[in-house]
Amino acid sequence: MQSDRSQQRGPGFGRLCSRRHWLQSSAFGLGSVATALLMRQDGLLAQDGGSLKKPDLEPVVYDLLPKQPPRPARAKAMISMFMMGGPSQIDLFDPKPELVKRHGQQFAGDIQFDNAAQASRQIMAPQWEFKPRGECGMEISDLLPHLAEIVDDITLIRSMHSAVNNHFPGFFAMNTGGIVGGRATLGSWLTYALGSESQELPAYVALTHPWGLPICGGDSWTNGGLPSLYQGTVVRPTEPRMFNLNPPPHLRGSAQAQQLQFLEEMNRQHAERFPENHDLTARIASYQLAARMQLSAREAFDISDETADTLEMYGVNNDTTRDYGTRCLIARRLVERGVRFVQIFNNGQSWDHHGAIATELPARCREIDQPAAALVKDLKQRGLLDSTLVHWGGEMGRLPTIQVPVGDTELKNVGRDHNTYGFSMWVAGAGIKGGHVHGATDEFSHYAIQDKVTHHDWLTTVLDRFGLDAHQLHFDVGTQRLALVENPQARVVSEILA
């Protein structure tokens, strides 16, 4: 019977059966399993004390215990640095001599504008110089000098294509496989399929920016139709980093320790009157576990034990890079401790440079470049890069022509409009080739023309790295079958795999 049930486990089966009523999900996807493990170890399973199993019609129950993927996995964890807004591939990743040559001329071809009111056909060359970097000679612009140091460890995809205009749909395409809000996010699918290696930390973490949430808000880490256990947990940029995980300030430390001691004494006395009741002892243990989880989580978020070199490498000592460096460092610490999926967000859509690209784009790059490169270096030196998939990219790129804000007659504050037909992102780790460029856009960096990679291909490739088949992974809700990737044409981009 045990084996019979275990056959049903695994992502393909959608609904899983478990005999445990009480091992239930939580709103912040934390801890139920830890309790279960603890109880099992201590023989404290409620309602299991030698009594028989009942043929009750028990509800389907989900957990976060680690699960074997159907195929061997290269990735155990993923860190996604999501650049909401659409960083300009033309100015960062995709050098086009033709644009330099034709700077200021009118663009003759077919062009897909987002904002017609401010549209212009005037071609704008990248404002920063591209140089070959590393041993591989990958060309990266001067805006990303630190990335330039790790190009031999990354694959740069220059042929991303979603054709999904605007930020919300674009983000949903890249992160949920569909273009409307409310679908389950990549992190939810991964934790649904694979659980988590850590039972004392949330399985799926979203690290948000001190200036605010990404524009899609809660939809950025929603479990959609998957059980709420698989919702991403927001780790806030400032204390308290998680709700209900830290005591209110006045109870922190000894005050809460005294509280729990008092509570335990009270609960033990109470439990003495019900010697046969395992539920009471389980709850006593759950408070102990809660206290431990607070410590583990606090420990995971506390970077003070990192070496000076590490802090320096991530730019934690520098005002410009402190926030992003800290969050990248926390991401590494979480992955190190078994968290499955971490996504680092910028606020709003701060890469959306419709105007003032000349000043805003460098400002964004200065904040993230050093920390992002440090993350790859650090994972590598700790031997974690082999099993950690790292992603850097946004939901779109930008056009080769200028966008002129209303009233800006001197072209001081020009920017670039959306481009969803050809854009770039980079990936590393988990068996992804190093020093490799995949795909190409046309001579103006508008349309991906060679080895086009769609958002569905990308998500399929991510799942593949985790040993999962995007065409099999699904979840049934009534008549509705949910899947991350619904496009039967989606493929693993095997060309970027080592």
Partner: protein, 955 residues
């Protein structure tokens, strides 16, 4: 069973159906392991407690029969291809042993006494069969092997036509399908009340098994138990004092009556029914779940019905057919009509995504879920299995399913469908309508006035911009801007391009914020007043109700549950097996018109085998934690047999004899000694009690059948009441050890408070509870990080702009918080509020760490603790008195001297720590209010009281 199988065509089960079946199978396998439960004729307490240890080896000694042991396995795994479908796979029919012997294309499938020569066993042991992922379990294979080796016995001669063997006698004789009879009460003679009968039944079974009951709990515990059970709230200290001071012989009865008369009774018991009805305030879309803003009308109907003790038969009739109980057209000015229409909200609770995705499949799913809700709620049967094929376990045919569904088809016709918004029924009375219209008219007038003044203001802006142009072009400019864009001359266009700020009035109105921000904001403020005015409208009365279609609606058997494959037409009727023992063939009497009313009437005519049993079981369940049948939504062969079948039938019979009054039933249960037992282990209970050898009792007990009880035990009970006394305690078994699930009810089970009770109790003891009854639900919304909180989402320019506080409403009972399917208040969700998919029969009561974290750290909890401590602080200057009140509030308990000193020590320690807290603002506050540290320490104490098991569990 004369109904012949109908022709069947190939088709595919939907994944949903498949999953459902997998689940069923698993359940069945578990049931199988327990031996005997499936057929359910053994005295179930014995089956479940005593034989559990021996379940695994039971088959060794058992004589196996096809009908009882083998057919259920083959029916689940094999019958569809090898029997039920018109084309026999491999020419092999497995429905009869005779046909197995004959065999199919590969020869005989069965060689009695020789399992190795039996193809049947070979195919399943190698997992060649059945195809697909689900195989027979080791235990099932073992049963098959053993049956073959014992000679492949049948219990009786097999029919000539396998179609006549659609169901076996074993299936048809399942206890739940038999008529309800008033069981003889053990030691009957001098019975004074139904409460006493409860004690006799429970006591007899316990004594029979060698157990004895527990002494009565003390009065405080009883009061807390009664208050939570009947109202979902703890008793107030005043109520406790009054009860303790009342030394009249009927003090307990008076408390019971007070609680039954409280409006909170209906809130508590209404909520139990809402679980069963699958009450949810959203439609169930996975993405973009749409709210059901009028669902609360049904909730209020239910609460009201319980508060007024609407007889349960009437309650069922109204919910199933309230619309058909109204003569003529429902009159919006008639509150009784509105009430009856609101009752039918019961049939509108199922998830329904057709507003956004109106496909035949989704319509069909809604109807299937509705039927699932109705049958599991009212009949305690999950008939859904029979949606695709004959029920795998119960003797319910696919025709039965669609006959029953035909009762509801005119109200929910999948081919003449109305999505949910179109199904809303307006029962707003004329006076309210008029008042709403008046306010709307005033709002419109106000808005028009604003519009007019705004345009006038924009006109002055336009004039100003024109005036800013050189005088010679002004007139031309005015003409140009007033010329429609399509009719402008090239000269006019050029002129306008040269003066970009000169725009049409419409354009300036739209861009007023740019032209004149302050005015724009002033007009916006006025528009907010218009919105506020609209909010003063009295509520309309939109009901989620059903009404039959006037045009005829045809009903068909849907082949394999596929709405696109209608087969033969069916007439409405009850499931046949539920009509077998009844005077008239009720399955045929459901009328052509007013089908639902006719159905509801036969359901409540006093002869239906399930309606009364199912509700008795539910009421019992909410008092003891489990029903007498522990699968309250499944009375079929798949469910558990009742632990005390005679008691169940007795109470069902008496309920009907007492006018189906649920308050009457409540009284009988809570006045029983069984209910009043203590939960705690007796102080002296140690190893002193010697246990009777389990096996010995078990062996004796297995032979006991329904209705037969051990005479000695009966005598003991009759003589001494429920708590069987005995000269030496050594004769009793230790129930805590040997009956840990408390199936014999020899004590009151300790139970965790459910989600609503946890929150409501915190509100209550902290003095914050807003006791308002009824009305629209308090909104729950996701805050910016996806945490569900009370309040409304504020949007500005389409982006999230915070949560609007719900004020006083935020402190109402949990019943009144909006419960969208996937959006439940964080606290309630953490304490296992069920998500309705489609309904819930038994709450999960988990023990998980997020609950601990919430009680330790959640700001709402901390604030409630502060409120409770303020209450203590203001009540008395003396610490001991405060503690007395604290323990009364939180635990309905006195505080012991030891507890006083422990609490005071804790408070002192906390206060000391708080005084040392270096936080500057805090230190400032301490300067001004030196007692702040102590008050904070008291709040810390209160928080721990509310986090304690003593608070969270009910004895």
């Amino acid at each position: 069973m004369a109904t012949a199988p109908k022709p069947i065509h190939p088709g595919v089960m939907t994944s949903w159906q498949l999953d459902r079946c997998l689940l069923w199978r698993l359940v069945w396998i578990m049931a199988c392991l327990l031996g005997g439960v499936i057929c359910g004729v053994e005295s179930p307490v014995s089956a479940q407690v005593d034989k559990s240890a021996k379940a695994a080896d039971a088959p060794e000694s058992l004589e196996l029969y096809f009908e009882k042991h083998v057919r259920p396995i083959l029916k689940v795994h094999c019958f569809l291809c090898h029997g039920e479908e018109p084309e026999l796979a491999g020419g092999l029919d497995l429905r009869l042993v005779r046909l197995m012997l004959t065999g199919g294309d590969s020869g005989s499938a069965l060689m009695p006494h020789d399992s190795s020569a039996s193809l049947l066993l070979d195919r399943v042991t190698t997992d060649e069969m059945p195809p697909g992922a689900k195989k027979l379990t080791t235990e099932e294979k073992q049963t098959l092997r053993q049956w073959i080796e014992q000679g492949a016995r049948t219990r009786r001669a097999e029919p000539d036509d396998p179609r006549e063997a659609r169901f076996t006698e074993e299936e048809l004789e399942h206890w739940a399908f038999q008529p309800i009879r008033r069981s003889a009460v053990p030691g009957d003679a001098d019975l004074t009340s139904t409460a006493a009968a409860i004690d006799r039944f429970i006591g007899a079974a316990a004594a029979d098994a060698g157990f004895r009951g527990s002494p009565s709990a003390d009065r405080r515990i009883l009061l807390r138990r009664l208050s939570f059970n009947l109202t979902g709230l703890p008793p107030s200290p005043e109520e406790t004092a009054a009860f303790l001071a009342d030394d009249g012989p009927d003090a307990y009865e008076r408390v019971v009556e007070r609680l039954l008369a409280s409006p909170h009774y209906g809130e508590r018991w209404g909520r139990h029914w809402l679980d069963v009805a699958g009450y949810a305030e959203s439609e169930g879309q996975v993405v973009g779940d749409r709210p059901r803003p009028h669902a609360w009308r049904y909730r209020d109907y239910v609460v009201d019905a319980f508060n007024h003790d609407l007889p349960y038969d009437q309650f069922l009739r109204e919910q199933l057919a309230g619309d058909q109980m109204i003569e003529g057209t429902p009159d919006p000015n008639n509150d009784q009509h509105a009430r009856l229409m609101a009752a039918t909200g019961f049939l509108q609770m199922a998830p329904d995504v057709t507003q956004t995705e109106d496909t035949l499949l989704n319509r069909n799913q809604t109807v299937a879920d509705t039927l699932q809700t109705v049958t599991s709620a009212v009949l305690g049967l999950t008939v859904a299995c029979a949606q695709c094929h004959d029920h795998r376990y119960d003797p319910i045919t696919i025709e039965d399913y669609y006959r029953l569904r035909a009762v509801f088809d005119p109200a929910l016709p999948i081919h003449q469908w109305q999505p949910p918004a179109q199904r809303l029924f307006d029962m707003t009375d004329d006076e309210t309508k008029a008042e709403r219209a008046n306010i709307e008219a005033a709002a419109v007038a106000k808005q028009e006035d604003i519009n007019e003044r705004r345009r006038a203001h924009c006109q002055t802006i336009q004039d100003r911009e024109i005036a800013a142009a050189p005088e010679e072009v002004r007139e031309a400019l005015r003409q140009a801007v007033n010329t429609p864009a399509g009719e402008q001359t090239p000269e006019q266009k050029a002129l306008l391009e040269a003066h970009p700020k000169v725009r049409t009035i419409d354009w300036i109105v739209a861009q007023l914020v740019e032209y004149d921000g302050p005015s724009h904001r002033a007009f916006q403020a006025e528009e907010k007043e218009v919105a506020a005015l609209r909010e003063t409208k009295p509520l309309d009365r939109m009901l989620m109700a059903v009404k039959d279609r006037t045009e005829p609606v045809a009903s068909h058997v849907l082949f394999r549950g596929d709405p696109q494959s209608p087969h033969q037409a069916v007439e409405p009727g009850e499931i046949e097996v539920l009509s077998r023992h009844r005077a008239t063939a009720t399955h045929e009497i459901v009328a052509a018109t007013n089908r639902r009313l006719a159905y509801a009437e036969q359901l409540t005519d006093g002869t239906h085998p399930l309606a009364a049993r199912v509700i008795v079981n539910r009421v019992w369940q909410h008092h003891f934690g489990h029903g007498l049948v522990r699968t309250p939504g499944e009375f079929g062969l798949n469910g558990q047999a009742p632990s005390h079948p005679e008691l169940l039938d007795y109470l069902a019979h008496e309920l009907m004899a007492n006018g189906w009054s649920l308050k009457w039933l409540q009284r009988q249960i809570v006045q029983s000694k069984v209910f009043q037992q203590s939960s705690a282990a007796p102080q002296e209970q140690t190893v002193a009690v010697k246990h009777v050898v389990t096996e010995q009792v078990a062996t004796e007990h297995t032979v006991t059948e329904f209705g037969a009880t051990n005479c000695d035990a009966v005598a003991t009970v009759a003589a001494t009441g429920f708590i069987a006394e005995s000269p030496t305690p050594t004769e009793f078994r230790d129930a805590r050890r040997e009956d840990p699930d408390n199936r014999y009810l020899t004590r009151m089970s300790l139970r965790r408070l459910d989600a609503e009770a946890v929150r409501d109790a915190i509100l209550s003891v902290s003095g914050q509870l807003n006791p308002q009854v009824g009305g629209p639900s308090v909104p729950v919304a996701e805050d910016d990080e996806g945490k569900a909180v009370i309040g409304t989402r504020l949007l500005q320019d389409g982006l999230f702009a915070g949560i609007k506080d719900a004020g006083e409403q935020a402190r109402r009972r949990s019943l009144y918080l909006s419960t969208q399917r996937a959006l439940q208040l964080n606290l309630l969700h953490t304490f296992d509020l069920p998500e309705m998919k489609p309904n819930c029969h038994q709450r999960n009561l988990s023990t998980v760490t997020p609950q601990a974290l919430l009680l330790m750290n959640d700001s709402w909890v901390v604030q409630a603790a502060q409120a409770m401590s303020d209450r203590l602080w203001l009540s008395n200057d003396q610490a001991e008195e405060r503690l007395r009140l604290a323990f009364e509030l939180a635990f309905t308990s006195e505080v012991t001297p030891e507890e006083i000193s422990a609490c005071l020590e804790f408070v002192a320690g906390q206060a000391e720590l708080f005084r040392q807290d270096p936080d500057a603002t805090w230190q400032q506050q301490l300067q001004e209010q030196p007692e702040a540290a102590e008050r904070r320490a008291w709040a810390s104490l209160c928080q721990m009281l509310m986090a304690s098991n003593r608070f969270l569990y009910l004895e």
